[in-house]
């Protein structure tokens, strides 16, 4: 890979040929504001927040789409750029209500943060209210066209990342709008995770929370064998949302519909809460001591009269390694049989 030399904000940088100004700046620890750009997507270049000045070029360029070249001298901060970014934000805010107090995304919204950072107090002339096509929703996700800033992250993620292509941009009399193909959509929620504003939101949890109220706990998905890394958003000891861990192996932020929305079975009222012992064909609640004593007594009796091989066990391929380890240890070391198996053969 050929390397090029360039200067960003008076710092000399070496970068691989072919990468963008944004990537080169990032690798040098220099932050350029972005909104539509996402590391997991090809550059979109729709928001113009990442404009930078390149010496010798009269007009600023978007850092996310412009490749570095040898000798570039780049400025990421200037009065002109500040003003251009303010203008870019105002163009977006003309069509985006400042309804942050009632928006689920408040506190985790890139537009909210940038509006604050660029000190935009008000938008001079809000656009007349547009006629939105009825918003798209499934049982888990909902599009809020009023808040959509048409950055196209969601459409590109649906196509590039999930390879589904359920989201398109359609020109209407009221300008471009997102349209959704219900037959293609599988409610994976990638669009929700990647939306920088409150344009795509979850419908799953009946609980209300603000992002700053939740603790984020990294864990591994309980469904298939891929081992996706999840971030559990927990408020008051209860999971309210699940997202994919960006940059994590093996899933790089992605989840499927079960991984993202299949978490609340643990809160079901049907959960077993006490040991149960069957008497006269009916289960009755029991204490742990009763249940464990009964099991131990039966096992001892069976071992005494029929030998340890008259006991067999099936472990669980859903539970943690340490559970399976202890179960096989119980069978081998305590009961004295290798009659331990699990569903690997089914």
């Amino acid at each position: 890979m050929n390397m090029v030399r360039l200067t960003i904000d008076d710092r000399e940088i070496r970068a691989s040929e072919g990468i963008t100004i944004l990537e080169a700046a990032k690798s040098a620890g220099i932050t350029i504001p972005t909104l539509c750009y996402h590391e997991r997507l090809n550059p979109i270049g729709s928001c113009r927040m990442c404009v930078v000045e390149v010496d010798g070029q009269s007009e600023p360029v978007t850092a996310c789409t412009t490749p570095v070249a040898d000798g570039f001298v780049i400025k990421t901060q200037s009065d002109r750029l500040y003003h251009l970014r303010q203008e870019a934000l105002k163009r977006i805010l003309v069509n985006h209500p400042l309804d942050c107090p009632v928006c689920d995304k408040a506190g985790a919204c890139m537009l909210q943060d940038l509006t604050f950072e660029y000190n935009i107090q008000a938008v001079d002339c809000p656009a007349p209210k547009r006629n939105f096509i009825p918003s798209y929703q499934t049982t888990f996700i909902k599009h809020w066209p009023e808040r959509c800033i048409l950055c196209l992250r969601c459409a590109n993620a649906c196509k590039e990342v999930q390879c589904i292509g359920a989201i398109d941009v359609t020109d209407t009399d009221d300008g471009p709008q997102l349209t959704f193909n219900r037959d293609k959509c599988v409610s994976c929620g990638e669009c929700v995770q990647i939306c920088p504003v409150g344009g795509m939101l979850e419908k799953k949890s009946s609980y209300r929370w603000r992002s700053w109220e939740t603790t984020k706990i990294r864990t591994t998905c309980p469904y298939c064998g891929v081992g996706c890394q999840q971030l559990l958003h927990v408020k008051n000891g209860r999971i309210v949302q699940v997202t994919g861990v960006e940059d994590a192996q093996p899933n790089k932020g992605r989840l499927c519909v079960k991984g993202r929305y299949g978490f609340d079975f643990i809160y079901s009222e049907d959960r077993l809460k006490t040991p149960l012992i069957k008497e006269n064909g009916q289960f009755r609640e029991a204490t742990w001591d009763e249940a464990l004593d009964l099991i131990t007594r039966k096992f001892k009796e069976i071992i005494a009269s029929h030998g340890p091989d008259a006991i067999a066990g099936v472990s669980c391929a859903r539970s943690i390694n340490e559970d399976s380890y202890n179960m096989q240890k119980l069978f081998r070391a305590v009961i004295g049989t290798n009659n331990i198996d699990h569903c690997a053969r089914t």
């Binding site: 298939c224 079975f265 077993l272 009964l294 039966k298 472990s315 669980c316 943690i320 340490e322 089914t346």
Partner: protein
């Protein structure tokens, strides 16, 4: 390049499938081998729509072409494998013309696929239960390995044979020795040194040296009386095992059943004692994924009521039977026992699992983990052993009385018997009932309308459910899942097993379909 055989990963391993599709969109080739025109068919350059249970004939024929046209990897075969002569003798019997009659793929397509495989390296072969859930499951797996060795696609990144494990921790349950023939880390039962090591570590005088029973043998034993007590931890056998009537008879025959679970299930009905367990996200621990990656699982909320971590329950039973186990958390169990006793996990400690986890083998503290196995063609056993195998038909094939083949699997919106996904808000809205997926041709022949309630019958049982008429399914096939109790495919499936692995033939049995209002 990818060769995907017997894997509907879009529904069963959705996130893995996105990476494969990304690669295809970036120029990788995909050859799909599957009886159904499933989603991956839209991405594949070639879709070999083989008949159910004809995998070995198809794979042997690919190898026949590779050898006949002399386009296999001579260097790899000569330096890294043994048994080529025997393999050659066997596969030369499977000319594309002969195999075509068995698998239904044209001789031209077989030759085309073989040439594509020879021309592009490396190629990753991915399989799932479409390969293993047959009476010839073990031989199917052997065939995939034979093919990849013949192509020299072993021991390289993006190559190899990649089984996508069905459940989040089925890899881990194997790794932990929840198998009748191995201790944790695949150390063999019957090996006296291994036995002595575990006897010392577990502070017991004697460990059993005789290989134990596999699940189907245990279930048989419940009926014969050889097995008196059955301890079922987190499995809903009454729905997941083939031939539900038979399974329920077996469970009902048990003298004493302990179920340890998070819910009452169809299986817990047969229990004498039910123990309430902590669920995912209610205790700390680890899962091991398909790629042998050990990742952390963390507690986020408390178990309900008196529910307890499973490891704790086993420890309490051990204690009552006179064994005082020291480890008192999942972390202590892993760090102080598992990684001490299994060389493959020796370098894995909780302190090293904070980020992306580690892929075993990971043999010491500084070991970075192992991304792919058999590097440089060095196999665990030394040289790679070709194991030539013959095609055998499924145990039950279509006939005049039961003229269709039932194949089963999973659908995207639910997981197994819905003990979990059925209790998640919203998932039932996305898929609320089972369907019998049938072809346009068969629907037309029997005058079945989309969504019409039909009866599907096998020699073992019958279910009534909606017909889903779809181009995904070829003529002559019915496809169903096992997510919903009433219309569970396992009322129909055949309890015929691979003789070595005792994996059941969920992928093929004979059925007939009938209109209810004929």
């Amino acid at each position: 390049m990818f060769l995907v055989i017997g894997s509907n990963m879009t529904e069963a391993h959705p996130v893995a499938s996105t990476f494969l599709k990304n690669a295809v969109q970036s120029g990788a080739q995909l050859i799909l081998v599957d009886p159904r025109k499933q989603k991956l068919a839209d991405f594949a350059q070639v879709h070999a729509q083989i008949k159910v249970g004809s995998d070995i004939a198809f794979l042997n024929s690919l190898m026949c072409v590779l050898i006949e046209e002399d386009i296999y990897d001579h260097k790899f075969v000569e330096s890294c494998t043994i048994g080529f002569k025997e393999l050659k003798e066997k596969v030369m019997d499977y000319s594309p013309e002969k195999a075509s009659a068995i698998c239904g793929v044209s001789p031209d397509m077989i030759r085309d696929i073989a040439r594509r495989l020879a021309a592009t390296r490396p190629c990753m072969l991915c399989y799932t239960l479409g390969i293993t859930e047959h009476t010839c499951g073990k031989n199917n797996v052997m065939s995939t390995a034979n093919l990849q060795m013949l192509l020299g696609n072993m021991g390289v990144e993006c190559g190899g044979v990649n089984p996508l494990r069905g459940q989040n921790n089925v890899q881990g349950a194997c790794d932990m020795g929840a198998l009748p023939n191995v201790f944790p880390g695949y150390q063999k039962v019957g090996d006296l040194d291994v036995q002595a090591k575990f006897e010392k570590a577990w502070n017991v005088d004697h460990l059993p040296g005789k290989v134990g029973l596999m699940i189907p043998q245990m279930m048989d034993g419940l009926v014969t009386g050889a097995v008196k007590a059955f301890y079922i931890f987190g499995e809903n056998l009454a729905n997941t095992e083939p031939d539900i009537k038979k399974v329920e008879h077996e469970l009902a025959s048990a003298e004493f059943i302990v179920c340890q679970d998070i819910f009452q299930t169809e299986t817990t009905r047969f229990a004498h004692v039910i123990l309430p367990a902590a669920a995912w996200s209610e205790n700390d621990g680890t899962f091991s994924s398909s790629e042998r990656r050990v990742s952390r699982v963390r507690a986020a909320s408390l178990p309900p009521g008196e529910a307890k971590p499973n490891w704790w329950i086993f420890k309490q039973i051990a204690k009552r039977m006179g064994h005082d186990w020291q480890s008192d958390s999942a972390r202590e169990i892993w760090d102080n026992e598992i990684s001490q006793l299994a060389p493959a996990f020796a370098g894995i400690k909780y302190s090293r699992l904070e980020g992306d986890g580690l892929q075993w083998p990971c043999t010491h503290d500084q070991h970075p983990g192992t991304c792919f196995l058999h590097k440089d063609g060095e196999f665990t056993c030394g040289l790679g052993q070709f194991v030539p195998v013959d095609w055998t038909p499924p145990a039950e094939v279509a006939d005049a009385e039961y003229p269709l083949v039932l194949s089963t699997g999973r659908r995207l919106y639910h997981y197994h018997t819905r003990t979990q996904t059925g209790r998640c808000k919203g998932l039932n809205d996305l898929l609320s009932e089972e369907t019998a997926d049938i072809s346009l041709d068969d629907a037309k022949l029997l005058c079945i309308e989309p969504g019409e309630i039909i009866r599907v019958k096998s020699r073992r049982g019958e279910v009534t459910l909606k017909a889903r008429i779809t181009p995904e399914v070829p003529k002559g096939m019915v496809w169903m899942a096992f997510h919903f109790r009433e219309a569970c495919a396992n009322w129909l499936t055949n309890a015929a097993f691979d003789p070595a692995t005792l994996t059941a033939e969920y992928k093929a049995c004979a059925v007939t379909i009938e209109k209810i209002n004929a």
